[in-house]
């Protein structure tokens, strides 16, 4: 009895040691040091269409960071508003074209624009635009959006700063920045368009993805409201360059196409028509008239906007979330112009989308893992 017991223990311990030894040998025979030290980090996030959607939303979230600034900077540098005693010195300095002394002015932090650009570059570099399902290249329309957002961001940069470095390669390593040739890659109003066209903007079509609605915690917002219009961005870019008449012609063409495609035509009740001549007439031989507003244009504008519930007149909107829980709140414009954006505490149990919300949170947890979340460190 005693003997058996000893045997048993000895056997099991020896077996355990043998197993460990085998494990050890196999571990070190069949893997190199670099394999052993490679941690599965889930770096790749472009394995399927779902991932690109998250990246697209990531880009839009970055656009939220510059959207308000775009409004504020334009107003500060424009002539229609002037700063009062109630706004900060920073905004005073910008409005008066003073240099902020410490250079820490967040309003002028150009890196937020490049955050949009770099995330777009990452998307563009990794997106499989040839992926086909049911005979449709289903990635294309989202890809067009990203191309357009990047172009729009560069357009804003050049309008604000005159000349900025241009990069279309994603920066995923410090080496990219280290080896970047600034001198050869500066863009301004004259060469921006060429660079963008060469990097794929020229091939952008006018199809749009279908994302349904977002909910910002208080209201539903149609995803289509958040699309960037490639034709308008292209039109702006040609207009910005304005090198010769063909640029204006191109710009006008893009605007025209946009209006035509988006029910932008206005009834003759509100406009007067004058026969066109020359270049502009060539633009649309089938309708060679120029239109100008009649007296009741204001009435038209008011009813038009009202009847269309503020939406169809909107080209691109960047939504704010209703509270900080659900994302970035856009409060700066409201703060500066002194009005309070209305928001209410959302009732999470009531209407809305109870089940998708739960999924949303689960997804978030999964992505925390995927994204090598670093919060606690």
């Amino acid at each position: 009895m005693k003997y058996n017991y000893i045997q048993k223990i000895r056997k099991s311990v020896v077996m355990m040691l043998l197993t460990l030894f085998t494990l050890h040998v196999s571990l070190f025979t069949f893997s190199s040091c670099s394999d052993m030290l490679t941690i599965d980090t889930g770096d790749k996030s472009y394995t399927n269409a779902n991932d690109t959607l998250y990246s697209y939303l990531g880009i839009l979230k970055h656009v939220q960071d510059i959207a308000e600034r775009q409004v504020i900077l334009n107003e500060l540098r424009g002539d229609l508003v002037s700063p009062t005693a109630y706004i900060t010195d920073t905004l005073h300095a910008i409005a008066n074209f003073d240099d902020p002394e410490d250079g820490s002015c967040s309003m002028l932090d150009i890196s937020d624009y490049y955050a949009v650009i770099n995330n777009c570059n990452l998307y563009i570099a990794n997106c499989d635009t040839n992926a086909v399902k049911s005979n449709i290249k289903y990635m294309l329309s989202e890809y067009y959006q990203v191309q357009t957002i990047r172009a729009w961001t560069y357009l804003q940069l050049v309008q604000l700063y005159g000349e900025v470095p241009y990069i279309s390669e994603p920066i995923a390593s410090l080496d990219v920045v280290k080896n970047f040739n600034y001198g050869a890659n500066l863009v301004n109003k004259d060469n921006l368009l060429d660079r963008l066209l060469a990097d794929g903007l020229g091939k952008v079509g006018t199809t749009f993805p279908h994302y349904g609605v977002y909910n910002n915690g208080a209201i539903d917002i149609s995803a289509s409201l958040c699309y960037f219009q490639p034709q308008l961005v292209l039109g702006d870019l040609y207009l910005l360059r304005g090198a010769d008449t063909s640029d204006y012609l191109n710009a006008a063409t893009y605007y025209w196409n946009y209006l035509i495609n988006n029910n932008g035509a206005v009834s003759e009740q509100y406009v007067s028509a004058t026969k066109l001549r020359g270049l502009v007439a060539q633009l649309r031989p089938e309708d060679p008239y120029s239109y100008s507003a009649r007296n009741n244009w204001g009435y038209y504008a008011a009813t038009y906007i009202k009847s269309n519930n503020n939406t169809s007149d909107v080209i691109t909107s960047i939504p704010s979330s209703a509270n900080a829980q659900f994302g970035t709140m856009l409060m700066r414009v409201a703060d500066i112009f002194g009005y309070t954006p209305t928001s209410s505490q959302p009732n999470l149990q009531g209407t809305g989308h109870p089940i998708p919300s739960l999924q949303g949170h689960q997804r978030c947890t999964d992505l925390c893992r995927l994204g090598r979340h670093q919060h606690g460190a």
Binding site: L20, L37, G58, D89, V177, Q349, L370, A377
Partner: protein, 1083 residues
């Protein structure tokens, strides 16, 4: 042949007990003496030229000869003999033997230098009750050992604190049970990475999760609390020569060894004790009428006060008409802190694996169940294995403790803070009820519903937002429950080390360990009794629900080949090996608000503002290491070691190190030299010096605690809009990121003098840490903030001293006294990114070239302006930051901040260094008396020259909000000409507010202290029983008194493990006097 050495600690149940008995039954007698490291086993001695040495062994206390003492050549058991009845011995040893080693049970071992002579000095042995420096082999590294016996600690940290205070700087985290201590060896060896030592438990490296957070404020999940101190045999601190630990050794190493069987006889030690800790004191606050004065005056300075009437008729609590309906609600005298604390009881059946300990803060406590089997099994000839299994489960009952750094996510929820700042004119449970509708105590309804007309706690919210404070008793009462506020930790350790003795020179061992650590924590701030709190950007909340689950698994392997050989006067030993660690940590936490009902405290879908968070970190290290040791005649020693280590956390193109097998390896060499001068023949003439050792060393080691993914490009999820999750690039790889390198020179001298009555030593060190990990701003084109890179250098220069004197050594009375002292000076030598300031608890901490780490950087003050004339004379201005109205003036009653740059404006240019949290010296002072069977130990801990930022006081004397203020605030400036050091009160919304409460030297205090840590009296019962070897009864008192100029209750606290938080008092529960009574039985 199967043999066991068992040491069985802990059995929590009959099943385990019976298993243990089975194991014990298998014991068979055999020679199982375990060879100490590097000590040679018996084998036929080669032929050397021999000499005969004569000597005598006596008892140092009685001078009587000792019969039967074992005498051997030092570190060579092949030559040994025994003393005769007169204590004399004659031993034949080779001529090159320079010292002998004497061992007798009940006495300390002693090394006796003979050099080339043939007559050994008389060896006067001291009782084991006294301290000894002698070891069977000579170590030339700077180490310190604490042997643990009859511990009364919950966590081993406390024993380290008591015994190794000068070797390792320990800072007790708080008075909550099991919190342990923050530890630093040889200064602060890193700026942004972990700077606490590596802990090795029974040969395996542990991850103490120092960078992890708890969802309860002021609480740290101390991994070391999972080890029962009664299971621990010894703790050793390695202060230099940590190159063998490669990229993990730069902060020094703490080696913890648990008890193992040293002989075949099964020994069972039972240590049972119980005790209590007295309720702590707390700051005296203003009473009801003082607070009423204060708060009414304060309201006058708020926007409300300026726009509305502040007459007593319009402010309910000012109405002193006893017939007024609300009069009883606002006319109480409540000491809110009084009932929050208690005398806390502790029961430890440690040897049975169960400890239960209350905290002096009510509803806080700790219990632990643990089981450990340490087994040594001889499998076949030459092959044996250690097999250790340990399991422990810890349960904490918790509430928030101390001040949180930010109240962005919840109202003030810590009962010990609320006890101070809640309004004294409110009552705990007063409620308008009953037939007469008068105020009666009601523990059910008082303050339960925030919308109640009777709700007293929101009285201040009329005058400012988020000013209502919670009732701490509701938090205690309604936060109580298994699913509400607790943490449960499960630790499991499997540790196997087979050992193959290939021949008498060569041994192969391969340690394999598995550790599992699971933490589950629940947090619940109740609905009832918590006033509405507005979270910026979210909305109104009352209850807060959080849950946390964390898990870490670690695999550890250490394969080692050891060799040793003796060639006459040359001793050689070497070992080399391979080490692999793989850690995987993940956690998830969730937060939600407004449970609606305290009976349903769980995470659920209906909660508002739910958020989730998580970490998923994996890291692996591989290291190769080797050490060669040489000594010549036990006189001259040299250890040369080197290790190379690579880690998943290093960049692939790390700027230093060696590229091999596709990865970068850090190379860490070390050379230690030693010289035992007393073994020199020419030294023999110097009487009074029994042993003298000089050591000199250089070592390099690294710190690999770089953020887990800083060498990688990765994305992070974020919310774009509700339900629309976005993925954004948040970090780009820095392929050059690498370990921090610490290069340390050390020199030491240790000796034993005057018949070993005085033992003293000193060790000096200079350590430089290169490649400090610092944050650098990313290029703007990346769109990212900053990235980690290696840049900068810091230096630690210091010394450790220790001395032990046996003042009286008589048969019946012994007295020894000793002290240890540590000192370091920490300097940042280079900081390419420039000086920077970290903001912690409102403090600004300066990191600047030429300065120590973490200096307090703020304004100097020169009292309070007593008169307008004084203020006008100084004419200091406060910058508003608004262009049209850029300045306001400091006036009478405001703090006189020193205008250092003389520009008339109190601004950033006036900030200077106002304090240094680093101590000048720290350590222990102890003494021990032995009278017959009685022993009295007295142990002090001290720290001198460290400054404290008293954050708690800065809140209790801020004079700008609705918190109740300390009694000192009564003396605030109120009338022209009043001389006081307390400024006038001023609401932060007032135009006259000039931020008197800002971070300044008003809040910096000298944190030096001398603590009587422990007084213990023990008595060995005079028993003579065959089945009991001994019974010791002991009683002790801890923290009996503290001598300190510090105004807080306890000058020791650590609110976080980062070095930047070490001198910041966030009002954690203080440790208080505690008393224990115990009995130890050896079977």
């Amino acid at each position: 042949m199967l043999q066991y050495h068992n040491i069985i600690r802990v059995t929590a149940g009959a099943i385990l007990l019976s298993c243990a008995n089975l194991l014990m039954a298998q014991e068979e007698a055999a020679d199982t003496t375990q060879a100490a490291p590097r000590q040679r086993v018996a084998r036929p001695a080669p032929k050397y030229e021999m000499k005969e040495v004569k000597g005598k062994v006596i008892d140092a206390a009685t001078f009587k000869p000792i019969d039967g003492a074992r005498v051997q050549a030092f570190n060579d058991r092949r030559y040994s003999t025994m003393t005769d009845e007169q204590g004399n011995y004659t031993i034949n040893v080779p001529v090159f033997v320079t010292s002998l080693y004497v061992t007798v049970p009940q006495f300390n071992d002693q090394q006796v230098a003979i050099a080339n002579g043939t007559v050994a000095p008389v060896a006067a042995l001291q009782s084991t009750e006294l301290k000894s420096i002698y070891q069977p082999t000579t170590s030339i590294n700077s180490t310190a050992v604490a042997n643990i016996d009859m511990s009364s600690s919950i966590s081993i940290d406390s024993d380290i604190e008591k015994q190794l205070g000068g070797d390792i700087r320990t800072i007790n985290r708080s008075g909550i049970q099991g919190q342990g201590a923050a530890m630093f060896i040889h200064g602060l060896n890193s700026l942004n990475l972990n700077s606490q030592p590596l802990v090795i438990l029974d040969g395996m490296m542990m991850d103490l999760q120092l960078d992890r957070q708890s969802i309860h404020d002021g609480f740290f999940n101390n991994i070391l609390a999972g080890i029962d101190p009664e299971d621990i045999e010894s703790v050793e601190v390695l202060k230099n020569a940590t190159s063998l630990y490669g990229a993990r050794g730069a902060n020094g190493v703490v080696v913890i060894n648990t008890k193992r069987g040293h002989s075949m006889a099964t020994k069972i030690n039972v240590n049972i004790f119980g005790g209590f800790e007295l309720a702590p004191g707390y700051t005296k606050m203003m009473n009801s009428s003082q607070y009423k004065n204060y708060v009414s005056e304060l309201i006058g300075t708020t926007k409300f006060g300026k726009n509305n009437s502040t007459a007593s008729t319009s402010i309910p609590f000012l109405n002193d008409n006893p017939d007024y309906y609300w009069y009883p609600m606002y006319h109480n005298e409540t000491d809110w802190s009084k009932e929050l604390y208690r005398t806390a009881f502790t029961q430890n059946y440690m040897s049975l694996g169960y400890a239960n300990s209350q905290s002096t803060a009510k509803e806080n406590g700790f219990n632990r169940l643990n089981i450990r089997f340490n087994t040594d099994i001889k499998l076949i000839k030459n092959l044996s294995t250690q097999l250790d299994v340990a399991y422990s489960r810890l349960t904490y009952n918790l509430r928030d403790n101390g001040w949180a750094e930010s109240y962005a996510t919840s109202t003030i929820s810590s009962p010990n803070v609320l006890g101070l700042i809640q309004s004294p004119f409110l009552s705990m449970y007063g409620y308008y009820t009953g037939d007469d509708l008068k105020l009666h105590p009601s523990q059910v309804y008082a303050g339960k519903y925030v919308n109640d007309d009777n709700y007293p706690f929101a009285f201040a919210s009329r005058y400012g937002s988020n000013t209502a404070l919670a009732n701490p008793y509701w938090i205690l009462d309604n936060g109580d429950g298994n699913n509400k506020n607790n943490q449960e930790v499960t630790q499991f350790i499997l540790n196997v080390q087979p050992k193959w003795e290939i021949n008498s020179h060569l041994t192969f061992t391969n340690r394999f360990s598995y550790q599992l650590n699971r933490t589950s924590e629940k947090y619940y701030l109740p609905e009832a009794g918590i006033p509405v709190y507005n979270l910026v950007g979210l909305g109104d909340v009352t209850s807060v629900i959080k849950s946390f689950f964390g898990k870490e698994t670690a695999l550890f392997e250490d394969a080692r080949l050891s060799w040793h050989c003796n060639y006459g006067s040359h001793n050689l030993a070497a070992f080399g090996g391979f080490r692999f660690t793989s850690n995987s940590y993940s956690d998830d936490s969730m937060t939600g608000y407004n449970s609606g009902n305290d009976k349903m405290p769980d995470m659920k879908y209906s909660l508002q503002f739910r958020s989730v968070d998580g970490n998923n970190d994996e890291w692996r290290n591989i290291a190769w290491y080797a050490q060669g040791s040489y000594n010549y005649r036990e006189k001259y020693y040299a250890d040369l070691s080197v290790s190379m280590e690579s880690s998943s956390r290093f960049g692939k193109e790390a700027s230093e190190g060696l590229k091999l097998f596709g990865v970068k390896w850090g190379i860490f060499p070390s050379l230690q030299l030693g010289w035992v001068i007393t073994n020199e023949s020419w030294f023999q003439k110097l009487k009074g010096v029994n042993h003298l050792k000089l050591t000199l060393g250089y070592d390099e080691s690294g710190n690999d605690a770089i953020p887990y993914s800083s060498s990688r490009t990765y994305y992070q999820s974020a919310e774009f809009l509700k339900q629309a999750t976005a993925l954004q690039l948040v970090n780009i790889e820095n392929p050059e990121i690498q370990w921090e390198t610490t290069r340390r020179f050390s020199a030491g001298i240790n000796g034993s003098f005057v018949n070993n009555r005085i033992q003293a030593g000193v060790e000096f060190y200079v350590a430089k840490t290169d490649n400090l990990l610092t944050l650098k701003a990313n290029n703007y084109m990346t769109g990212l903030g900053s990235y980690w890179t290696n840049d900068g250098r810091l230096r630690n220069v210091g010394a450790d001293y220790h001395v032990n004197v046996v003042a009286i050594n008589r048969k019946n009375f012994k007295w020894q006294i000793g002290a240890s002292l540590g000192h370091y000076k920490n300097t940042i030598e280079s900081l390419p990114g420039g000086n920077h300031i970290d903001k912690v608890y409102g403090a600004e901490l300066l990191t600047a070239k030429g300065q120590s780490i973490g200096l307090f950087y703020g304004y100097q003050t020169a009292g309070v302006f007593a008169t307008s004339a004084e203020a006008d004379k100084a004419s200091l201005r406060y910058p508003t930051g608004i262009k049209n109205d850029p300045y306001k003036f400091f006036s009478a009653g405001d703090v006189h901040f020193v205008d250092r740059d003389n520009n008339g404006v109190i601004d950033d240019g006036d900030k200077t260094i106002i304090g240094d949290p680093n101590p000048d010296i720290y350590g222990n002072i102890y003494t021990q008396f032995n009278y017959k069977r009685w022993a009295l130990n007295v142990n002090f801990k001290y720290s001198l020259g460290n400054d404290i930022y008293n954050y708690q006081r800065s809140q209790l004397e801020s004079l700008s909000g609705f918190y109740n203020q300390s009694l000192a605030a009564v003396n605030r400036w109120t009338v022209e000409g009043q001389r006081t050091d307390m400024p006038r009160l001023m609401s932060t919304t007032a135009d006259e507010w000039v931020n008197n409460e800002r971070f300044s030297d008003r809040w910096i205090e000298d944190g030096s202290y001398l603590k009587l840590k422990n007084v213990r009296l023990s008595y060995d019962l005079p028993l003579n029983l065959s089945w009991i070897q001994g019974i010791t009864i002991w009683g002790e008192a801890n923290n009996l008194f503290v001598v300190t100029p510090y105004s807080g209750k306890d000058p020791e606290f650590a609110v976080s493990n980062s070095i930047f938080y070490q001198g910041i008092d966030a009002g954690l529960l203080p440790s208080n006097r505690s008393f224990n009574l115990g009995v130890k039985i050896n079977l």
